[in-house]
Every structure is written in C-alpha cells, then in structure tokens.
Amino acid sequence: MKIKINNKLKYLFIAAPMVFASSCKKDFLNTAPQTALPIEDAFSNPDRILSQVNGIYAGVKNGQFYGGRYLIYNDIRGEDFIVNKPNGVTGLDTWRFNVTSGTNEVVNLWGAVYAAINRANLVIEGVAANASILTPVVSKQYIAEAKFLRALSYYSLLQFYAKPYVTDNGASLGVPLRLKGEKDLTGNDLKRSTVAEVYTQILKDLNEAEPDLALTLPATRASRNTAIALKTRVYLSMGNLASVVTEANKIVSATAPFAATTGTPLKLESNLATVFGGAYVGNASATEVALTFPMADLDAPGTQNQLAYYYNVATNGAGGNEEFFLNPTGIFANAAFAAGSTDARKGLTAVSGANTYLTKFKRPSPYTDYVPVIRYAEVLLNLAEATVVSDPTRSIALLTAVRQRSNPGYVFPAADLLPANLKNTILAERRIEFLGEGLRAPDIMRLGLGFVAKSGSQGTAPAIPFNTAGYIWPISSTEIQNNKLVVQN
C-alpha cells in the first residue's frame, strides 16, 4: 500500500495533540476538594484555630448530643413526660426502658459524644503544637475551653452508660477515657475506666481550665464562671456537698439578690420567659446562662433531634410534633401548674387536644432555640441542696429566689421548709424549673432513686428500681464489636 509523504505529515498533525495532551498537564492527577481543607492548613493561622475551638462546641452541640437528644433522653427517662408518638426513632424505647446495645439512641449518643471528645483532644494537641501562632494567654484559653468541653462530654456519658457515683463511690465501670487525638487506624482497644477515675479526670480538666478560661465571654462559650458552675453540678452528682458549696460560693453572693461578683455577670433574669425567648444569651451586665448553645437557620439541630419538635404543640404554627406530653401525675400535678396558678413556668406549657405540652422551646422549623446548658438557677438550687443541713437559712433563701422570680408573691408553706422536707421541696423546684432541660434522669440517679412506672394511651413504661436491669444503658454495640477491651454493662 502506497502512502504519500504529505499524507504521513497529516497524520502527525493529528497525532500531535495526543502527545501534547499527555505531557502538558503534569498536575492532571493532583486533585483536591474545594470545600474542605487539608489537615496541614487546619492550624495555620489564629482565625482557623479559633474556628477549631468553635468546632468542638459544634461537636458537643450535635443534635444527637447536647443539641437536643441528650436533654430529651434525660427528661423522657424520667416521670414527667408521656409518649404521644410511639416512634422508635424519636425515643420510644428510651422512654419505656426497652433499649438494647444496638438501639439507635444508645449507639448514636455514644458516637456523638466521643466525636466531640476527639475534637477536643485534637485541639488540645494542635494548639500546643502551634502555640507560637497565638499569644500564650489565648493558647491557654483555647486549651482550657477544650478541656471544659471534654469534661462536659465525659460527665454526659456517665449519666447514661455507667452506674451513679453514689452506688459505690465510683468503683463500678465507667467509660473508656480517651485523652489523645485519634486520626489513624491504631488504638481501637481501650478498657473502661471506673466511674471514679472518669470523675477524677472531669474535675482535673475543670480545675485546670478554670484559671485559664477567659474571665468573660458571651454565654455561647465557656468562661471561668462556666467551669465553676459545671463543677457544682459534677460535685452534686458525686454527693460531695462541701465542694458544691466551695465552688458555688465563688459565683453566688452571700445574700439575695444572688449574683456572681467576678467574671461573667451571672444573675437570675427577672422574667423566666425572657430566657426561653429562643436566642437568649443575656447581656454584658447580666446573664442567666452560664453556657448556652446557639442555633441558626444554617446551623440547626437536624431532623428529629429538636427540643421544640419533641415537646411543643403542633397547633398555631408552633411547629412541634407533640412527641411527648406532660405527665398529669408527674411534676405537672404540682400546684405551680394548677389551674389558676400565676407561676410564670405554667406559661411555658400549652394544651393541645387532651394533653398539655411544654412550650419552653418554641422556634418552629428549623428549630433554632438556643439550648440551655447551665443556668444560674441551677447553680442556686445546687447550692440550696448542698446547704440544706449546713446552712438551711441560705438554702431557703436560694430556693425562694428561684421560686419568686416566677411567682413573686409566693410564700412556701412552712411545712415545706421544715428540715425534713426542705430537700424535697428543692428537688420539686428543680423539676418545675428545669422541665425539659435534661436534668431529671441524672437527678434520679444521683439520689439513688428508681424510675417510676408511667402510662398513657399510647404506651406504658415499667418501673425500674435503682440499679436494676435497664437502669443504665448498655454500652453501644458498635463499641463492643470494635473495642476488644470494653466490657458490656
């Protein structure tokens, strides 16, 4: 077959682009996402490091954890709510104590808390490694915030997956203590530390954080008083009343009106409804929240995690899904909620159909109510409970401050304040005050009580006596499967 020379040249022209294409694009195989940063750049400047600190808060605030479900589980395990929508996805099995190690609540909460803990650990290591970019004060403060959040996370884990400290002074199994950042394939196996060891770590983190935290910060981040406030909760859970008093005294004035005198200006808001307006952080001169997690349209809790979705009514555009209503024989039977009661906390409920619902959280979809983590009212009642015996006068003053903020003219019947009854009166006040804020189950557990039976038209939940089967959750099945050293409850 004959071929002319010029034809051959023609072919070369056609073939040339192929060679050209293969040689000119050296970076052809080097691609990178345009929406995520490589790890090398994650700590490259002060803004990004601050952004990472916020990332830990965002992790704790995950809808599966403090963004919603952690609070919900703690309340619906208690006796004050009745299931209205018996849906396995929205806490039915938690409510009726029917969870197993594979139940979504058990698996997802475990995973979300540890994801937040790992973020804290990575920031603690990353800030230390990149301290030169920051001022010493700021780098200490960031590490302190990470430790605070790690402490809050471990405390939260203990409330579900371990027996209460009061059982045996923390001798029973707690949770695995992960204290270093994890990002590779190693280190799956880690045994459970004891409850006491975990509490020791929580207090170590909080004590180390306290001096390094900023004196004041907006309530969406932890400042010095936030760590102190959390310590009152932790010590109360351990039954260490003396330490509750010591810590609380740092931020509670000796006499009414109670307020923190240094740091973030903690103080009861005069009108409780203000606190539950949706985006409450207080102001520069007074705030009731020691810590609150913000929400925004673009940073919402996510589907079926939202407080308002679970508790609020569906009517009047409130956007709730009426998942749980107030148990008529729970704290809702208290006179504070009775017909004709002028208590402001009654104003945070509403009737829909035959039932009454909690309307504390009220922003409709995408449900951007700020999540209260620690309110000053809790610090006051923690201190009140700790001083029932040691300083009943102050205890009563603290209790009264909380009550009269919502019902100014109210005078406790003398019997309620008798030494034998004062503690119960305070405990009842906690249930009225913190309804829906995730304190009930931890209170039941630290008091060594059982969970009482509940029933409604859509389901019944059995009584679970103290430390009997189902009292605490099993360890997540995925942890059991992948961590050879962990022991099931």
Partner: protein
C-alpha cells in the same frame, strides 16, 4: 467485519463461476423476520463447486446440469438453509437471522474479536433479546440471559437500578456494580436522583438502540480496563446502518401493570378484634372500634387502594438506517411513557441518536455516535429505595400499617387527619402515628429529570496495511434536576408547614483515547497487537436548597414563597485517570491461542506515591477440534468443535470516591461563628483494591452448531480489599471508619450455557437457551483483627460480614416458635438456653427460662448484638435462565424463565405485619395463640409488644428461603403475511402479546423473593453489599401485560 466477510464471499463465488447447460434455477431470498430481499446471499448446489450470490433485490439465478439436488443458501448473520430443487425452476427461500452468529463478533474493549477466537470469558447478549420488553433500562432484561451475571430487581419502583453482579460480590465497601462502556465511553451509572423518584442513569439509554452487549467476566478479557475491571465490564455497542436499502423500523407497545402478590391484611372488623384482644391481654381497655358513616355504612378501607393502581404504559421507537460504501448511518428517536403500578410513579423518556461512519479518504474513516435523552422520573415516597426502609411516610409501609377501620376521607370529602399530623382517629381512641397516605400520594411530589448527552467522535487512519491509528474523544454529560415537594398537612412537611427541595447536579466526564492497532497474518500465524493511552476526567457539582413553611397553601413549587431557605444537595468533586495500555493476541492455525493485555492506571484519589497501579491478564486457548487427529476421528462428526481456554489476571476496583487519601477539615458553623472540624480521617497508604481472577473453560459444539455447551469455572481472589474499616466509636473518628486496604474474599463458581436448536424446519422451529451459574463467596480476612462488619438496613441490623462466611450473611436472634403452653415467643440465647418472652410482664420478668433447672425464673434479656447468629447466606448460590423460542409458520412464542436460590431472605416487613402496636397486621395473625396447647407461630397478642414479632431486633422467624422460579417473559407473536403488507407499502409487520412477571413459584411468604431494599447502595447505613437480601417495608413488584407492533418499511 461482517461487511468484509460478505465481500469475501462475493469474491469467492465470482471466482468459481458456474457453467452448465441443462437449466436455470431462479428465485428470491428474503429475510424471514422482515421479509426484505437479502442481497449477497451465497447460493450453491450441494456437492458441486459452483455457486452464485443474490443481487441487491435478493434475486439469483443459477445454472445446473443436475435434475435433482439441493441448493444451499448461506449468508453471514443468517442461519444457512438447504432446499431441494424440485421440478419447477423457481426456488424461493426466507432465511432467518441467527441470534448466535449475530454476536459472532465480540467487542472486547478497544478492539473486536471473532467469537471463535476468544480465549477469555465473555458473555454476549444480542440487542434482539432486549427488544419489546417493558423495561426502563437494558440491564433489567439481562436476568437469566448470561451465565455468571446476576440481576436482582430490588422492587417495583420504576427505574430503580437493579442489583447487577458479574461473578459475585467483588467488594465489601466499594461498589460491586460493573463498569459500563457505551460505544467506548465509560458512562455514569447508579441512581442519580436525590429524592424518591429513582433515576437509574442507564435508563437514559434506549434499549432499542442497542446492537449487542458483551460482558467481560474474566481478567484476560477485562484487564484492558485495568483498575475498573474487577466487577466485570459491560460493553454496549449501539446499532449501525447496514449496507443495502434504507430501512425504517417502528417498534411500539402499550401495556398495563398491576401490583402482584399483595399480602392479605386484616379487614376493619378483624383489626378491631385483634387489637382489642391484645389490649385485653395486658389489662387495658378496648380502644379500637368500627366506625359507621351517617348513612349507616361501615368504614372499611383497603389501604392498598391508596398506594397501588392498574397503570398503563406506552413505548415507541423509530429508526432509519442504511449504508453505502462510504457512509453508514443509523438515526433513531424514541418516546416512552411508563406508568407504574404505584400511584404517581412514572418514567418518561425522549431520546434521539445519530450514529455515523464515513470514509473520508481512502485511509481515513471518521465517525460519531451521538445520543441525547431526556428522562423524567416521578414517584411518591415509596419507602423502597436504599435508606428509606423505616420512613414513616413510605407508601409501601403505609399501605400495610394504616388502620382499615379508618377512612382516608371524611364524609364531606376532606382529608381525615388529626391535629398532630397523623391520620384521624375514626372511632378509635388511640391515634395511629402514621400519616394518611391519600394525602401524601395526592399532595407530595418527587421528580428527577435528567438531560444526557453521550457522544463520541473518532478518526481512524490506516497508516500502512494492518496498522491503524485511532483517536476517540468521548463525553458523558449528565445533568439532573431534582425537585420534591412535601405538603403541610401530613407527613414530613407537617412539622414545618410544607416544604420543597430542589437541587441541580452537573456530572461531566470526558475521555480521550488514542490507540495504535496492528493486525497481520503471516502464513499460519495471526498476530494482533495494540497500544494506547487514555486520559479521563470527571467533574461533578451540585447545588440546591430546601425551603420550608409555605406562605400560601397554593404554593407547591420550590420557586414559590416560603419562610425559610437552607442549602441542600451541595456536592463538589473531581477525579482523573491517566492510563497506558496494550494487548497482544496471537494464534497458530486457529488452533493455539495466546493473548495478553496490560494496563497502567493512575488515579487522582490516591496519595502521591501510590497513584499508579499495574494490571494485566493473559489467556491461552486450544482448539482441539482443529487438530488433524481429531478431524479424522469419528467423534468430530458429532462433537464438531472443542476449544479449551484458560486465563489469569489481576484487575482492580477503584470506586473509592474522589479524595479518600486526604485528611480533611471542613468549615462549618457554630451558631453564626465559623467552626472548623475534623471531617475525614484519610489514608495516605491507601492502594488499589485488586482482584486476581482465574478462569478455565471449554466450548463444545455438537452437530455443526445445532447444540452447544460452554462451561467455565472461575475463581476471583480479592485481596488488598478496600474496606471502610470500622473504628471503635470511642475514638471519635468521623464516620467511625477509615478507608483502608484490609481483608480478603473470594468468589468461585461454575457457569454453564447451553444453546440448542431443537427443531429447525421451514414451518416450525424451536430453540432453547439455558444458563446456569453457581456462586460461592467467602470472606477470609477483615480489618481490625477480623472484626465483624454489620450490615444495617436503616434502623435495623439483620446482616453480618464475618470471616469464614459469605458477605452480608443474614444475622438474626434465633427463635424457636411459640410455646404451646403459654403462647409466648421462645428465643434461644447465646448459651443455647430457651427463653419465653411476654411483653405483658414487668420489664425485669419479661424473659423467663422455658425449661431446665431455672424454668419459670427470670432470665437476662436477649441482647441482639450478643445473641444473634448467622441464619444463612443472603446472596444466591445458584441462578440462571431458560429461554424457549418457538416459531410455527407466522406465529412465534417465547417463554423466558429465570430462577435463583440457595439464599435466605430476611422478610423484615413481616415483623411489621405482626407488630402489636396500633399497626394493622397481616391476615395470618388471626391464627394467634389463644388456648393452651395450641400450636401456632403467632404468639399470644399483647398490646405494645414489638419484641415477639421481630420489630425490636431481627429474628430468625422472619427469615425465609429465597428460592424462586419466575416466568419472566411470555410473548406470543404473529407476523403478518407479505401479501397483505406489500399493498400497504409495508415490508414486514409483527404483532404480539406479552407478559412480564406472569408467575412466581416460590415458598416465600412475601410478595416477591427477588427483592433487595438496599439495592446497589454503598452507604454504611444501608449498603447493598453488606445488607443484601432484605425485604423491609418495600413495595411489591408488578405484573405487566403488553400489546405491541413492530413494522418495517
């Protein structure tokens, strides 16, 4: 190739010009199927050396001296025929197309090869087999058609991609879906929709345009695709114009579809009886009551009527084709509108194609295959796509859980709803949580519309004889517009007063390959070789938003006025391949064969040192029947051809996503502040997943091809398995997994293909094709010290991947029936102890020992994670198909049967169908335990009990055999006589009646044992690899009847 051979025949017979004296025989040769004249058919007298060929009008004339004898007619692509010369001088004959010889040429990648010379393992399916089927995408019709190819239709949702497996599940964490090549372009596959309207990317390709499908199964055939070949490669070749007169073809059908084998449910009275009995049994007051309307009639709702319907469909395809020496063309247009048996489910496709080849110069050929399609999928939320199984708004589930004693509409015609977003109470005192499905099917909408261009252009230059350079640029541009609307009254949109989500995704891929191809024959030696280089780049980006809170109920579209907007469906990613490859094939006297191919692939998703991987395969073949000693033996008369072949090679699977090697931090928000967080634990050591495939086989042909048997044995050894290795959740790694190379697995099995022409007369033909395949899969090593990998289906885990067992085995807590004495469900815990369970007892006493020393004492609760055991394998051990084709004169009959088995199906829906909450139940619950001593499998009913039935955790009582035999296709056709047609200017016409899924023979209690709610998904929470064989709240499959017409002009 065919044309070339045709011309060769012409030359051959012109050379041997006939001469004789006695008489001249004349006649016309036509095609049997279309009645068109056939040019170029060789006509010879048996026993003589002379012959002729037919002219362009199909006419021939041949002179012979003999008074008797036999004329033989043969042509490539047609079955040869002999006819005796009678007294008359005219012998007309109609040749039928030979389905087997049509696929005589297989497309093996960048080249083609004669099937006789193939030494790898390639299954070929002719486009003819896809014709006229009421399918959305071609692969749905492949079930049972090719040995080693397993197709499982997940359920009846239109355009839901079937599970498509070539020689087993070849990966644990990565996709096991084969690589699909259309006219040389690796195309996008999988469900591209982001909402409930399934959108199989392959549904954009009109099956009517497909000429042939070649499935490359072993490493030798597929190694030329290197890192993407581990799951098999499916090479689609679209139709081209054939030399001869311009042909115009129309194919159309109309049909109707209905849901089949719906599970019988309780009616209103039975529901009231059963539910109240369960309440009484736990000391609760009755709460369910019959409701009467104002006219006294009783409310009785069959909720299937608010989910399913009898639907009609139509499909039309029209094409023009032809060719001369310089140019061939094939132009087609198609329109199809298939309505599903699910209310609101439809598939509408408009498509066009132009395939052109033109000889530009003597040595230069250019061409293009250009196709455009627009596909619109519509569906309600069926709850039947991967990840939807536990949706409370899925139609498949709503139809079986809603109370039959409650009406969907109030008497004034308004919807029956309660204040909290569920269906109204009716006369019951307990509300159902579930929404009213009538509202959802009427008010909610999901659409996914794709616009797709798949096109290539090529130039081929013959440099010297036997050596050709070819450059091909191909592209696949797929744009998808997804829109969904949820109403404010019921369902997902209730809590936010209605909402709409829209997103738009652009997927663009280009692929430029350049090859140099050589072929030559040197005496007894044939040699073929080619080398090539290829770059491919894929980019996808998507954007969209969700809007919530309709301002006015009139608003039903995203663009309307809503109170909020948040981003949704944002995607961004790209990847690139750079490859160099080559292959060589050699044979000596068509007796001994040797082939080898090699590919070096570079992939952008791997870290710098690991980007490139080498893949290759080799095969050998021996055509024993070509040996002289065999040709002389008596056996050669019967067993006409024997060819042995064997191959071995190493190929890869690189469906690892775009950036798995990188450690990533993602910016997000904490309230309104920036929040950066660890989002991906990368793995810089990540390497190619490799699959070592061995194959040996034999092709046997009896009686000159009347009967053939192909047998293959394969063994795929997958090591370096890429696994999303599970990490202890307490480590807090994002997603709790790290993509890493760990683990090993193998697939092995036998494949048999039998083709038989049982009867082949002028008036009556009967042919049979049987495929039968076996598959044994075993996982031999896993990451994290062989940690089990669990396969979840949404909220439920019923599958496990464990070393020593097949991937995705069914994993449930064993149950041992119902205790006849107490009517309580009996469980078996990990210690082998039998426990009775009653939900009526206090929590701590619910489980009690059934027997033994502790009988009657409280026992620890069943823990699904600890007490579950492997109940059986979920992937079929054997499967195949049997096709019988009959033709009697103008009538033809096709019966296509598929079968599959050896596997277990987890029928999770049955747990729901027996749940003792307010849910409706299957009619079988009427056999519940009521009296001591009664033998039944339905325990004593206790209101609120979701444990005895299997809702709380997966149980072995809901596991059933997956064996089935399906009459998948039954078609009866009639070809209109030529005499009638010619007056109408029509050259051929066939009408037919057809049925799909006419009959299922199976012991499976659910609607259809061919089911897989997780489909092809690779998402951790609903992976089709890790959790196959699960039937959970899915819609059933449909049965279709069609009437069709094929006309040629």
């Amino acid at each position: 190739m065919k044309k070339l051979l045709q011309s060769l025949f012409v030359l051959l017979f012109i050379a041997g010009a006939a001469f004789g004296q006695e008489r001249t025989i004349t006649g016309t040769v036509t095609g049997k199927e279309d009645g068109l004249p056939l040019p170029g058919v060789s006509v010879r007298i048996k026993g003589s050396s002379g012959g002729t060929i037919t002219a362009a009008d199909g006419k021939y004339s041949i002179r012979t001296t003999a008074t008797t004898g036999t004329l033989e007619f043969s042509s490539i692509g047609f079955t040869s025929q002999s006819k005796s010369i009678g007294a008359g001088g005219v012998v007309n004959v109609a040749l039928s197309t030979d389905a087997k010889t049509l696929t005589d040429v297989v497309v093996t990648g960048y080249t083609t090869q004669s099937k006789r010379d193939v030494t790898g393992s390639i299954a070929s399916v002719s486009g003819e087999k896809l014709k006229n089927q009421p399918i959305q995408s071609f692969e749905q019709a492949l079930a049972g058609k090719a040995a080693g190819v397993n197709i499982i239709q997940p359920n009846g949702v239109l355009n839901n991609p079937p599970v498509f497996r070539v020689r087993g599940f070849n990966s644990i964490s990565l996709s096991s879906y084969p690589l699909i090549i259309v006219d040389g372009i690796p195309v996008f596959t999988g469900d591209q929709s982001s909402n409930s309207a399934a959108g199989n990317a392959l549904g954009d390709i009109n099956p009517a345009d497909i000429e042939s499908i070649d499935i490359l199964k072993d490493a030798a055939s597929s190694a030329i695709y290197g890192s993407r070949a581990a799951n098999g490669v499916v090479v689609i070749t679209t139709k081209k114009g054939k030399q001869g007169v311009t042909k115009v073809n129309y194919e159309g059908w109309v049909g109707t579809t209905k849901a089949q084998n719906l599970t019988p449910l309780l009616n209103a009275a039975e529901y009231v009886l059963i539910k109240n009995e369960s309440r009484t049994n736990i000391g609760l007051a009755p709460a369910f009551f019959l409701q009467n309307r104002a006219d006294g009639s009783q409310v009785e709702t069959n909720w299937y009527d608010y989910a399913y319907r009898t639907a009609t469909s139509q499909n039309h395809a029209l094409n023009f084709s032809g060719a001369n020496e310089k140019t061939s063309y094939y132009v087609s247009v198609g329109y199809g509108n298939q309505q599903g048996f699910i209310l609101g489910n439809s598939f509408e496709r408009k498509n066009g194609r132009v395939n052109l080849d033109h000889k530009l110069f003597k040595n230069v050929t250019i061409g293009t295959n250009f196709s455009y399609s627009n596909t619109l999928n519509r569906a309600p939320n069926t709850g039947s796509l991967p990840g939807q199984a536990f949706s409370t708004v899925g139609l498949g589930r709503l139809a079986i859980v809603l109370p039959p004693n409650v009406s969907p509409y109030n008497e004034d015609g308004s919807y029956n709803m309660n204040a909290s977003g569920a269906i109204g109470l009716g006369a019951n005192t307990i509300a159902s949580n579930y929404p009213n499905s009538a509202v959802l099917v009427n008010e909610d909408k999901n659409t996914s519309e794709s616009d797709r261009i798949i096109a290539n252009a090529y130039a081929s230059i013959q440099i010297v004889k036997g050596l050709a350079f070819k450059t091909t640029y191909g592209l696949d541009n797929l744009k998808i517009d997804n829109n969904s609307f949820v109403n404010r009254l019921q369902g997902d949109g209730f809590s936010y007063n209605g909402g709409a989500t829209s997103n738009f995704v652009k997927n663009a891929r280009w692929n430029w390959s350049n090859t140099l191809n050589y072929s030559g024959v040197f005496g007894d030696h044939s040699l073929g070789a080619f080398i090539g280089a290829e770059d491919q780049y894929t980019k996808s980006s998507g954007y969209g938003a969700t809007r919530q809170g309709v301002i006015d109920p009139f608003i039903q579209v995203f663009q309307g006025s809503f109170s909020t907007i948040t981003p949704a469906g944002l995607t961004q990613g790209d990847n690139a391949f750079r490859s160099y490859f080559g292959s060589i094939n050699y044979d000596y006297k068509k007796k001994y064969y040797l082939t080898g191919s090699f590919r070096r692939d570079g992939y952008s998703g791997l870290s710098a040192g690991n980007k490139y991987g080498n893949f290759g395969g080799a095969s050998v073949g021996w055509a024993l029947s070509e040996e002289n000693f065999y040709k002389g033996s008596g056996l050669s008369e019967i067993l006409t051809r024997i060819k042995f072949h064997g191959s071995y090679g190493e190929v890869g699977n690189i469906n690892i996503g775009n950036y798995p090697a990188l450690y990533l931090y993602s910016p997000g928000l904490y309230g309104s502040s920036p929040a950066l967080s660890f989002s991906q634990a990368g793995n810089p050591d990540l390497k190619w997943e490799t699959s070592k495939k061995a194959d040996v086989g034999v092709n046997l042909e009896f009686l000159a091809g009347r009967f053939s048997l192909d047998v293959d044995y394969y063994h795929n050894n997958i090591d370096n398995l890429v696994q999303n290795a599970p990490q202890a959740p307490s480590k807090g790694i994002p997603g709790n997994t790290i993509t890493t190379n760990v683990g090993k697995m193998y697939n092995k099995g036998f494949e048999f293909t039998i083709n038989s022409k049982n009867i082949n007369n002028d008036d009556f033909t009967w042919s049979t094709t049987l495929t039968f395949s076996t598959l044994k899969n075993e996982v031999t090593e896993l990451g994290n010290n062989n940690a089990d990998v669990f396969g979840a289906t949404g909220l439920e885990t019923a599958n496990i991947t464990r070393v020593g067992y097949p991937i995705g085995s069914i994993y449930t807590v064993p149950t041992a029936g119902v205790d006849p004495a107490t009517g309580e469900r009996v469980f078996i815990n990990r210690f082998g102890q039998k426990l009775r369970f009653s939900f009526a007892r206090a929590a701590a006493a619910r489980y009690q020992y059934l027997d033994g020393a502790n009988a009657g004492q409280n026992a620890p609760a069943i823990d699904a994670a600890l007490d579950a055991t492997i109940t059986g394998q979920s992937i079929p051990k054997w499967f195949g198909g049997l096709d019988n084709n009959f033709r009697y004169k103008a009538f033809d009959l096709t019966i296509g049967v598929t079968f599959s088995g050896g596997n277990k199906i987890y029928y999770g829906s049955l747990a729901g169908l027996r749940d003792q909450r307010f849910w409706n139940n299957e009619a079988g619950v009427l056999n519940r335990w009521t009296t001591p001593g009664q033998i039944t499998d339905v325990p004593r009913l206790v209101y609120g009990d979701n444990t005895s039935n299997g809702s709380a955790f997966a149980q072995s009582q809901n596991v059933f055999s997956g064996n089935f035999l399906k009459v998948r296709n039954l078609a009866l056709g009639y070809t209109l006589p030529q005499t009638v047609l010619s007056k109408l200017g029509v050259s051929s016409a066939r009408i037919y009646l057809q049925s799909s899924n006419l009959l299922i023979i199976s012991n499976y209690p659910g609607p259809d044992p061919e089911v897989s709610v997780n489909g092809n998904s690779t998402t951790t929470g609903n992976s089709g690899n890790l959790a196959p064989g699960v039937d959970r709240n899915s819609v059933p499959s449909g049965r279709t009847f069609t009437f069709g017409l094929n006309v040629g002009f």
